[in-house]
Symmetry: C2
């Protein structure tokens, strides 16, 4: 007897879940293939969804369809079902600046382009930007994102309307005085659990170079009081780590440690400047601290170094895949950032056996969920977890033939292959069409705002970049 | 009066053509923006196609539709038209091994996986592989590819049937004796100009480490006699350059120079081992020698170094974008390889102002055409050139808004955004569907062959990799 459900996905090849590769791989014996990660690959399976959660995953021929006459049936023949991807660090509204500041170095990007343009933002711009970004995320198979920006209440409304899941943090600087921190904490308190529980919250101090120690300490206390994590940019690159050290003798991660941010629980954005001594500090908080890599941003900005995957992996720290904002990375594409991280890791280490396809998929799904504090809720397809499910069309030449499902997903598929997206048991993308968002109007309205948005004649900026 | 045509593309935003960035950029003054390349961007234009060539490109309101009643009209509202992309180095049938040998280093990839598996190939496998690969290329907006493989007559038939354009070279090794070289020359002679001129040919010596000096000299003479170029793997990485030097005192490019291959005209595949002294040799033949980069392959195999774009650019040598075979790179995606080259160039040089978006598009279109010896025929949208045209759907959130068309195309678009593909004036992909190829049957047949194809129990290989 098959338990009754609301929705059944039939005839899928299910990439059900991944596991963390062993510490010390790839130096472990080659015969120990499991050490390099793996994907539980279930061809010819069906998934039953009930009340927003996965009820069961069964071989097609063990499903009693007669017991499921009330369920919606999705035929997934030729499709692969995988856990909804997570984007663990972005700034959704910044899609409004996509391509307005490319081919420029980091300091110029901040001081001469983005921070002057952000002076022009209205709440309406933030809404339209967030709407377009969420459309991009959903169409690309991302069912959960971690956002860090201004105007977060507006973004929360867009999350609610679109059906996506999100961890939201309202950005603040110490230059705002106490008001910034208090606003961020009030948002984290009030929005937590909204959108039928799809919204979780975090506190949003911008970075150790724009938020001082006192405010970081107060933020850590806020986090413990509210039971939320702290989403913060830190050790974004090695240059920042060096300048932090020379300024006050501590690394950015050292500052997070001393101010209690790590102990409270943190989503560290970037972390490309994390060094060996930092990893020792982080290890103690491996149950509540994760790092979101954003590899496309690092490469496009010609940054020195990328998020040190092997150091963090061996220290037991979860690493996620983020995109950063589209003003820097041009897309919010988790597939692309996952693949770039894998390729740059292989290239930089000179070891093609490191950063395996299975490992990359683990980062984009299970570890990403851990980075957001949502382990046990999302990040895998398993009975009891939230029904965040993506169907990928394998009936396309660039995905054929299939020798190894993990390689096909990690190295051949792209976000355009996503056909159907389900969040919390609700179909939000079907046949590559958004069911919950009208984008045409949003794009038309935002396009008219571009001259005003990119005006820099006022000579102001929201901050100075001097980390 | 608008001249009569067969086909009209209406209401397109036309990315008509690119130009080579100035030598010495980005060190030239920042105000000199043209030095970094540019894209001729024509919003609201129509393209008329007649007898396989572009007849005119006009603003929409200057087209007299009444004079064009016999023409097929394609509405390209919301779409961007760009020159068909070129893949300047691949081995199409190798899609059959896609994912059968990933996460392994180069020597192991050749000796333990690919060269043993290639022992199993039948002519039918080559046909099915080529068919799937051409489907992948066309759907991804590639209208011309340069192929290097065994069984090239079979591949030529697939080119003919599919409507794609190709430069084909039949691979040979010196280990085959004179028969290999003669077969490659006979193919180049007989197939040239076939498929209504869509097939051009080259000679296909595998590499300087598998084809000896005598055979390379004879190949150069064959090339001059037949009026074709030589497509050859050379200086694939710095390790090969070092071992070549220590073996006989010459670099791989030095060998091509001494044996007359450069003088005859060459498409050098990879060239990631090209060093400064090689660039001096190459400069003299800039009108007939180009290099095809295949960046995804280098990164996935953890290779030391990539095709040195800046060295070649400053030496005036055209650089193209290839994918290599899908056994190594997992896709035949020119968009992805173009973007990877740009990102790795920025990252490795530490200069975000180098490898601009406009430069990357120039590599994927105009310079790629030069690398294949097809300059003046393809690589731009300009009256008189072949009508190889790709339409990209910009009505999708990840391509909105548009601040700069070059950045959007080079850094945000992906191959799934291609909706319509025209080769030689003929529509071969419409609404993301192949009109000339039945893939379903080919995939089903090839999938049944996988156990036999991947069998390595025979203990043989087609060559030994010891460059």
């Amino acid at each position: 007897m098959t338990a009754p459900v609301d929705l059944v996905i039939r005839h899928a090849r299910v990439a059900a879940e991944t596991h963390r590769p062993a510490p010390g791989y790839p130096d472990l014996p080659r015969a120990d293939t499991a050490s390099r990660g793996g994907v539980r690959d279930l061809p010819g399976h069906s998934i039953g969804v009930s009340a927003g959660r996965i009820a069961w995953i069964l071989p097609d021929d063990e499903v009693d369809l007669a017991a499921l006459t009330d369920a919606e049936i999705i035929d997934a023949s030729g499709l692969v079902a995988l856990p909804g991807l997570v984007n663990s660090h972005t700034h959704t509204p910044m899609v409004m600046f996509r391509g307005a500041a490319s081919d420029v170095p980091t300091a110029e990007w901040f001081n001469d382009h983005v921070w002057p343009m952000e002076v022009n933002l209205t709440d309406r711009d933030i809404r339209l930007g967030a709407r377009i970004a969420i459309g991009e995320l959903l169409l690309g198979g991302v069912t959960t994102f971690a956002d860090h920006y201004f105007g977060m209440s507006t973004i929360a409304e867009e999350v609610e309307g679109s059906g996506i899941r999100a961890l939201l943090a309202d950005t603040f600087f110490s230059s705002e005085g106490a008001a910034g921190r208090e606003r961020s904490a009030a948002f984290a308190r009030d929005a937590a659990g909204s959108a039928n529980g799809r919204i979780t919250t975090a506190l949003g101090p911008h970075a150790p170079y724009t938020v001082d120690d006192d405010d970081l300490r107060a933020t850590a206390r806020d986090a413990e009081r509210l039971g939320v994590r702290i989403h913060i940019h830190a050790a974004e690159n090695l240059t920042q780590t060096a300048s932090s050290r020379s300024r006050d003798g501590r690394t950015p991660i050292g500052i997070l440690h001393e101010t209690g941010v790590l102990e409270a629980g943190a989503l560290i954005a970037h972390g490309a400047g994390i060094v060996a001594e930092d990893a020792e500090l982080l290890t103690a908080y491996a149950d509540r601290v994760g790092v979101a890599s954003c590899t496309k941003t690092y490469l496009l900005h010609a940054q020195e170094g990328t998020t040190p995957l092997r150091l963090l992996h061996d220290a037991g720290i979860s690493v996620g895949i983020g995109s950063d904002g589209a003003a820097g990375s041009m897309t919010l594409d988790v597939w692309e950032n996952m693949r770039l991280l894998g390729m740059i890791e292989k290239y930089a280490s000179g070891d093609a056996t490191w950063a395996t396809s299975a490992h990359l998929l683990d980062l984009a799904t299970r570890q990403n969920a851990e980075v957001l504090g949502l382990a046990g809720e999302i990040g895998a397809l398993r009975p009891g977890l939230r029904a965040d499910i993506v169907l990928v069309d394998f009936r396309t030449p660039h995905l054929q033939p299939v020798h190894d499902l993990a390689h096909s997903l990690a190295l051949s598929a792209h976000q355009g292959d996503v056909t159907t997206v389900i969040v919390d048991g609700r179909v939000v993308v079907r046949d590559r069409r958004l069911l919950t968002i009208d984008l045409e109007e949003a794009v038309a309205e935002l396009s008219e705002r571009l001259p005003a948005l990119t005006d820099r004649s006022h000579g102001r900026r929201v901050q100075d970049y001097a980390p």
